[in-house]
């Protein structure tokens, strides 16, 4: 189990992380969500011991890391945001190197490498130099290296950046398997759909502060409106054209993303006709109308007033 209590980190005048606390249990995947610069990586860095917090404490399986060589660190695996591999070495050499750093030798190292290759799905490319790998293959190996020493807790800092769909699905499958094995996973991302698919619990961070920390359903329920109308508008107006729509009774948010109008409403049956009438009265032509439950993107928008990727 991972316990994070009151982490705080400041760089000069900038408060990067402020009083971040959460618990991640075995077999659970906790998603740290937030836009770039929200404080996710700083939080993960403090958990992994890469940064010393100004305040707060991290307990890894009950132990607190004290010093650079503390064996408590063996319980933790880190998948950095960067592809932290030696391009000049083969996949096997990379695994052997990082395994040896964790004091793995002989049969133990061979077994660990075999398992790691299974996770990465790269057994057939074991002897090839990493520099010849695609971005997705590198990301899979990046994950596999962190698993070599059999950590109980795995920190994944945006592990799918720049990954092709095939590798992404393979990484997701590996993570779901690790969860089934009872590992504790902390997953940072700004891809909301990834968090929705993988995470049992969601922690939304913005400007270094935790603004939501609950199960996915509970987080969805945090916003008063949980329904979204998606309307294709053929002739959208100029800047500010949605201001009037936002004042319509039952509408809590209206966003135009360039092709689709997303309107968040409290009650689908009551508010949908009002929205459509508002559009018709102003001669906006609609190509299609669909509705869906509010997703994390909507929740984030509702909580912060900003969209994750534009934040």
């Amino acid at each position: 189990m991972l316990e994070v209590a009151g982490l705080h980190k400041r760089y000069g005048d900038l408060v990067a992380v402020e009083e971040v606390s959460f618990v991640a249990r075995p077999g659970e995947m906790v998603g740290l969500l937030g836009p770039n610069g929200a404080g996710k990586t700083t939080t993960v860095s403090m958990i992994a011991g890469l940064l010393t917090p100004d305040r707060g404490e991290v307990r890894i399986e009950g132990g607190v890391v004290r010093g650079e060589t503390d064996p408590v660190k063996l319980r933790l695996g880190l998948v950095p945001q960067e592809v932290a591999l030696h391009d000049e070495l083969s996949a096997r050499e990379n695994l052997a190197l990082f395994g040896a750093i964790y004091n793995l030798r002989g049969a133990q190292l061979s077994h660990a490498m075999e398992s790691a290759f299974d996770v990465a799905g790269l057994a057939d490319r074991a002897k090839d130099r990493v520099s010849t790998f695609s971005g997705g293959m590198k990301r899979r190996l990046n994950l596999a290296v962190a698993l070599l020493h059999g950590p109980r807790i795995l920190l994944l800092d945006e592990p799918t950046v720049g990954v092709d769909p095939q590798s992404r699905n393979q990484i997701f499958a590996s993570l779901e398997e690790l969860k089934r094995q009872g590992k504790t996973l902390v997953y940072t991302t700004h891809y909301m759909e990834e968090a929705e698919r993988l995470c049992d619990r969601i922690i939304i961070i913005d400007h270094g502060k935790v603004i939501a920390n609950d199960t996915l359903d509970a987080v969805r329920r945090m916003v008063p409106s949980v329904n979204v109308l998606e309307i294709g508008v053929e002739n959208p107006g100029r800047d500010g054209w949605l201001d009037g729509l936002r004042t319509v009774d039952g509408v809590s948010a209206a966003v135009w993303d360039g092709s689709t109008l997303r309107v968040t409403v409290r009650d689908l049956l009551e508010s949908s006709p009002c929205v459509l009438v508002w559009l018709r009265e102003r001669s906006y032509r609609c190509s299609h109308v669909t509705s869906q439950r509010a997703d994390l993107e909507t929740v984030f928008l509702s909580l912060t007033g900003r969209r994750v990727r534009n934040a």
Binding site: L50, L51, T69, L78, P80, A84, L89, L97
Partner: protein
């Protein structure tokens, strides 16, 4: 410190270095090629025949004496003499194709003969020279003085015109009013004695040939090196200098690797593992030191096999200097890594600093060429101690005791660099 992890990291660094063709070329081939080139260019006379100074001679006098002087100049081993017209000579010097031109004026022989006994109206030999070869002018001037004195004195004291010159000198003496009578009488006796001597010896051509002034000494040159009879090999200093330069470049690269690995996230992995900073810094320093030692042994091995450069002094001292310099280089690399922010921003400054260190250390040209104050200043840089230490052990043939100073100085620099590196060490780029 985890010894296994330390070993693994050192092996990794060595492997990555030797896999990198550019790094290997820069570290092994470059010092050998450039060291060979400098050794050849700055080689001493014992290594190969000295290059002659090109001298254009303009003979406007066209006398027997001037021809004899020019012939003597042409026979000198230091000069390559060719006759030219004045315009040709001037053009050649201006174009840098000839180093010096000597112009013998009309009436040179006559005026030189007269001036030999009486001073007064001396002929002027004009030396036209390329200003980028000022040192060679002094050599030409010295050689010219020697041969003019020999030929003119021979002519004045035993040549065909000597009787007339003496007669003219005696007549001028009679007309002279500025001399004391006693001095005048003494000079007359000397000139008459020269005339008598010439008359007595006139019948023997051999005596005529030996008349005049000769150099009153001969010179025996001995380069004082390791042992008597052992010749200085100019490659020795050259290889030492280039070794120092390119090993420092390797040290910079070692620092750059640290910065690159930190940026690529590799250090995050290491930091997340139960490793101390001393394991990581120490392994980096150890691998750089090992590479430095391998480079030195390879380069000097090449110099031994191909150019016959021997370790004439203490071999233990040589190894000691190599190891101390390797450790210094390793800590220098760490210093570059901890003071640098990004590889791009750091590389240029590090190369500039290294070139200054190398220049002050006497790697390009020996430090004794520097002005006195600069020679003293240069002891403040580690490269000076390294080059001096290698010179002492390789071609000066000094004992182990002579290596102790450079070893101690290099280790002191290494300690200072190492302490700063640990003190300023940051896991994250600032």
């Amino acid at each position: 410190m985890s010894y296994t992890a330390f070993q693994v990291l050192v092996r990794r660094d060595l492997r990555l270095f030797f896999q990198d063709r550019r790094a290997v070329t820069m570290s092994f081939v470059a010092p050998i090629v450039i060291g060979s080139f400098f050794g050849y260019v700055f080689g001493s006379a014992q290594d190969r025949p000295p290059s002659k100074i090109e001298v254009a001679v303009v003979n406007q006098d066209d006398s027997e004496v001037s021809h004899k002087v020019i012939a003597a100049l042409g026979a000198d081993s230091a000069l390559d003499v060719k006759g030219r017209s004045l315009d040709e000579a001037r053009e050649l010097v201006r174009g840098g194709k000839t180093t010096v031109a000597a112009v013998f004026p009309p009436g040179f022989a006559e005026r030189a003969g007269k001036s030999f006994f009486r001073g007064g109206d001396k002929p002027e030999i004009q030396l036209l020279f390329d200003p980028s070869h000022a040192t060679e002018v002094q050599v030409v001037r010295g050689v010219l003085t020697q041969h003019v004195m020999e030929v003119v004195s021979r002519e004045a004291m035993g040549g065909p015109t000597s009787k007339r010159l003496l007669g003219d000198a005696l007549r001028d003496l009679d007309k002279s009013t500025g001399m004391k009578p006693a001095d005048q009488a003494a000079l007359r006796r000397m000139l008459e004695s020269v005339g008598d001597w010439n008359q007595r010896q006139g019948s023997s051509p051999q005596v005529q040939a030996n008349a005049g002034f000769n150099m009153p000494y001969t010179v025996k040159q001995e380069a004082v090196t390791a042992r008597q009879g052992v010749q200085y090999n100019s490659m020795a200093h050259s290889f030492a200098g280039m070794c120092v330069q390119f090993i420092l470049f390797m040290g910079i690269d070692a620092g750059m690797v640290v910065l690159t690995q930190r940026r690529s996230g590799l250090w995050k992995r290491l930091q997340a593992a139960p490793l101390s900073r001393y394991t990581i810094i120490g392994s980096r320093a150890a691998s750089a030191a090992i590479v430095a030692i391998v480079i030195m042994l390879t380069v000097f091995g090449f110099a031994r096999v191909v150019f016959g450069v021997r370790i004439e002094g203490s071999f233990a001292g040589f190894l000691g200097v190599c190891v101390a310099f390797a450790i210094m280089t390793a800590t220098f690399g760490l210093l570059v890594a901890v003071l640098g922010k990004t590889p791009e921003a750091t590389r240029g400054i590090a190369i500039l600093v290294t070139l200054i260190l190398v220049m002050l250390g006497g790697s390009w040209v020996p430090a004794f060429i520097f002005p006195q104050w600069l020679q003293k200043v240069s002891f403040a840089v580690p490269t000076r101690w390294a080059v001096d230490g290698l010179d002492a052990m390789v071609w000066r043939g000094s004992s182990f005791e002579a290596a102790l100073g450079p070893i101690a100085a290099l280790l002191a620099f290494a300690a200072v660099f190492g302490v700063i590196a640990v003190w300023r060490f940051r896991w994250e780029a600032s």
